[in-house]
């Protein structure tokens, strides 16, 4: 049985910066199983965000294949890609990226509206999701009236709205204080452990990364380390930490 939700083979990304060719990702291979919580670490410019953007269909691969739920998105046209983003991916950004003119519930609902869900259905689900992330009673507040921690919770609820195959989180705790950081990590861990949500998270914070099941370290567009941690519970067949060192 194939339980991989993401399979990347020989992924290379090249672009021009002035007259210079830049290659943030080189022949990268990666497989992520359903229900895995993966942290991607690495220095600035190592290709973390580029990798996340390609998985999230907001950037294109130069070569190689990227399979999400067995669909190769690497060469799909934009007319197909938006559907993958809408139905398969949930984004969580460092700066939350909530729409300032919509309240918390409406921000969550918008994701469902784009997916064509009915009003009654999406209103109830938005309420439930905000309840899940601990924001019941704050549905009517616009982002500017919420704390940063609360704004990130709304963003998490929004990412979950269409029940995506993968949640992509780009430094979700980067703009938060220590308390809020821990709250958000706990929330993501809860979602992963209780609901089996697949999460791929880019972070600079080793403490945060250490709490996930798998830590990838990128350098110069390649995976330097791929480490399964003690936290692995859902993958089932690992009982102890396992580390793979790539060349």
């Amino acid at each position: 049985m194939n339980d991989s939700v993401l399979k990347i083979e020989n992924l290379t990304k090249t672009y021009k910066l002035g007259k210079r060719d830049v290659q943030p990702l080189t022949n990268l291979n990666l497989e992520v199983k359903k229900g895995e919580f993966t942290a991607i670490m690495g220095p600035s410019g190592s290709g973390k965000t580029t990798l996340l953007n390609i998985i999230g269909c907001i950037d294109k691969a130069t070569s190689g294949s990227v399979l999400i739920d067995n669909v190769d998105i690497a060469h799909l046209p934009e007319s197909q890609l938006y559907k993958i983003r809408r139905d398969k991916i949930g984004f969580i950004f460092q700066n939350f990226n909530l729409l300032p003119y919509l309240n918390a519930r409406e921000n969550v609902e918008l994701a469902m509206e784009l997916a064509g869900k009915f009003k009654g259905q999406r209103k109830q689900r938005a309420k439930d999701l905000l309840n899940t992330v601990g924001l019941s009673g704050r549905e009517q507040h616009r982002p500017q009236r919420l704390s940063q921690g609360e704004q990130q919770r709304v963003a998490i609820a929004r990412a979950l709205a269409n029940d995506p195959a993968i949640i992509l989180a780009d430094e979700p705790t980067g703009n938060l204080d220590v308390n809020n950081k821990q709250e958000i990590v706990k929330l993501l861990l809860d979602l992963n452990q209780k609901q089996g949500t697949t999460i791929i998270m880019v972070t600079h914070d080793e403490q945060v990364a250490a709490q996930t099941q798998r830590m990838l370290t990128l350098n110069n567009g390649k995976i330097l380390k791929d480490k399964q941690t003690q936290k692995s519970t859902l993958s089932g067949n690992q009982s102890k930490a396992e580390e793979t060192q790539e060349e």
């Binding site: 938006y82 919509l102 509206e113 929004r158």
Partner: protein, 450 residues
């Protein structure tokens, strides 16, 4: 929370900016809404003036031709020998013509019509003159001026009238009578159906009635004071004059051929005025079109620039929407709707403003129609002349359908709907390019945008 709510919320995020843009758009749309009805009204009015000029020119030709074929014959006026003695006023007298003479003239070759007219001059015993005119359609059509021309109260005489009179102002004063009263003229009662303002060439103290009534009360059945004789064409006028003279050498016979000399300059004058009206019409249309174009360009350009600015300002939001799975069509629709919404709000204001400012603003934006109209009238000598004025009115011959009119333009429901339609169209046009730009934004670039 649908796309419309989002568009409205977005506009209200920057209230001052939205207000300034809406005011600017409203100004452009006000011009757009009030110009077409104003141009139409001016066009209609000028067109009416042109039509009237053309009708007057035709009427002039007919009248002059008719005047030129007209021959008047009567006996010479003399002093009344009965009033020569004593002192005070000397009264005039004029012999009447018999029915046999009427029949002889009517049967002359080249004569088409003979209109008998009756006049009983004032005497020492009464201070008014009795006019009798044949109340028949044929006579009115041949020469409408046989009827009083300046009715100020009541009505004019009509075909078949009997027992009714028109008094001029002096006669009414002398007889102490007003409209609707019964007056006794030479022992017979008449109802006053109209009052005539004083007007030359008819003398003062006139009491006008049907020819039959005038002949009856003066015991002059079959007799007339003058005949208006019409030759069949201008070339035969002099021959007919000679024939009438040969019937009775005492008759005074005069022809209206001289009228022809006045016709030529009058016609060219009418042509000049028609050309001036046409030029004015072209000027109104030209100015209006330029101003409408300015309004259209201004409306579209304002929306284009404000939406381009908005797209640039909201690049990151566009990136977020795309990351969430918004299709290009949804982004395009969102931005176009915002542009259209701005334009529609401005159109509603423009319609409300337009209703009140149309007359004032229209007179600022468009040239006024020139006072090109003329009417045809008669000078004190009975010569046809052009009279200035908008179109036919006042004392000039009334040609039905060519009366003076006012500029009556208004913002009708039809114009309101057209204005709204134009606002939607221009809103969509102005926001199309910015919305396409937004829709084509690549999400990765948009997410990096700061």
């Amino acid at each position: 929370m649908g796309i419309l709510t989002r568009a409205t919320r977005n506009l209200s995020r920057r209230k001052t900016r939205a207000l300034v843009v809406i005011i600017a758009l409203s100004l452009a749309l006000t011009m757009l809404i009030i110009l077409p009805p104003s141009i139409n009204a001016r066009q209609a009015l000028t067109q009416k003036a042109i039509n009237s000029l053309i009708a007057n020119a035709d009427f002039l030709k007919t009248t002059v031709t008719l005047s030129a074929t007209e021959i008047q014959c009567d006996y010479t006026i003399s002093f009344d020998p009965n009033t020569m003695i004593g002192h005070g006023t000397i009264w005039l007298t004029q012999p009447l013509m018999n029915e046999s003479l009427f029949n002889n003239i009517t049967s002359l070759p080249d004569v088409t019509n003979v209109i008998p007219l009756f006049l009983e001059l004032s005497t020492a015993n009464r201070s008014y003159q009795i006019y009798g005119v044949p109340l028949e359609n044929a006579s009115f059509q041949m020469d409408p001026t046989i009827l009083p021309q300046n009715i100020t109260q009541g009505r004019n005489l009509q075909v078949g009238d009997s027992g009714v009179v028109i008094l001029d102002e002096h006669a009414a004063e002398n007889l102490s009578a007003s409209l609707g009263d019964t007056v006794t003229i030479l022992g017979r009662n008449f109802t006053v159906v109209g009052i005539e303002g004083l007007e030359l060439p008819r003398g003062a103290n006139g009491v006008t009635m049907s020819l039959a009534d005038a002949q009856a009360i003066t015991n002059s059945t079959g007799q007339a004071w003058a005949y208006k004789v019409f030759a069949d064409n201008i070339d035969n006028v002099n021959t007919v004059v000679s024939r009438i003279r040969s019937l009775d050498p005492k008759l005074e016979v005069s022809a209206g051929l001289s009228q022809l000399n006045t016709a030529q300059p009058l016609e060219s004058q009418i042509n000049v005025l028609t050309q001036a009206a046409q030029n004015n019409l072209n000027q109104i249309q030209g100015t209006g079109l330029i101003e409408i174009s300015i309004a259209v360009i201004a409306d579209t350009a304002i929306i284009l620039f404000i939406m381009l600015y908005s797209v640039r300002e909201r690049t990151k939001e566009i990136g977020t929407l795309k990351a969430m799975g918004a299709s290009n069509a949804k982004i395009l629709g969102q931005f176009m709707l915002e542009g259209v919404l701005l334009s529609v709000i401005a159109a509603v204001i423009a319609i409300a403003v337009g209703v009140f400012v149309l007359p004032t603003l229209a007179s600022v934006l468009l040239p006024m129609p020139v006072q090109t109209g003329v009417g045809i009238g008669w000078d004190p000598n009975g010569t046809v002349v052009l009279q200035p004025g908008m179109v036919s009115f006042g004392k000039t011959p009334v040609i039905p359908g060519h009366e003076t009119n006012f500029i009556a333009a208004s913002v009708t429901p039809e114009i309101m709907l057209l204005g709204l339609g134009a606002a939607i169209l221009l809103g969509a046009l102005g926001s199309l390019y910015p919305a396409l730009k937004a829709a084509r934004t690549r999400p990765a670039e948009a997410m990096r945008y700061e």
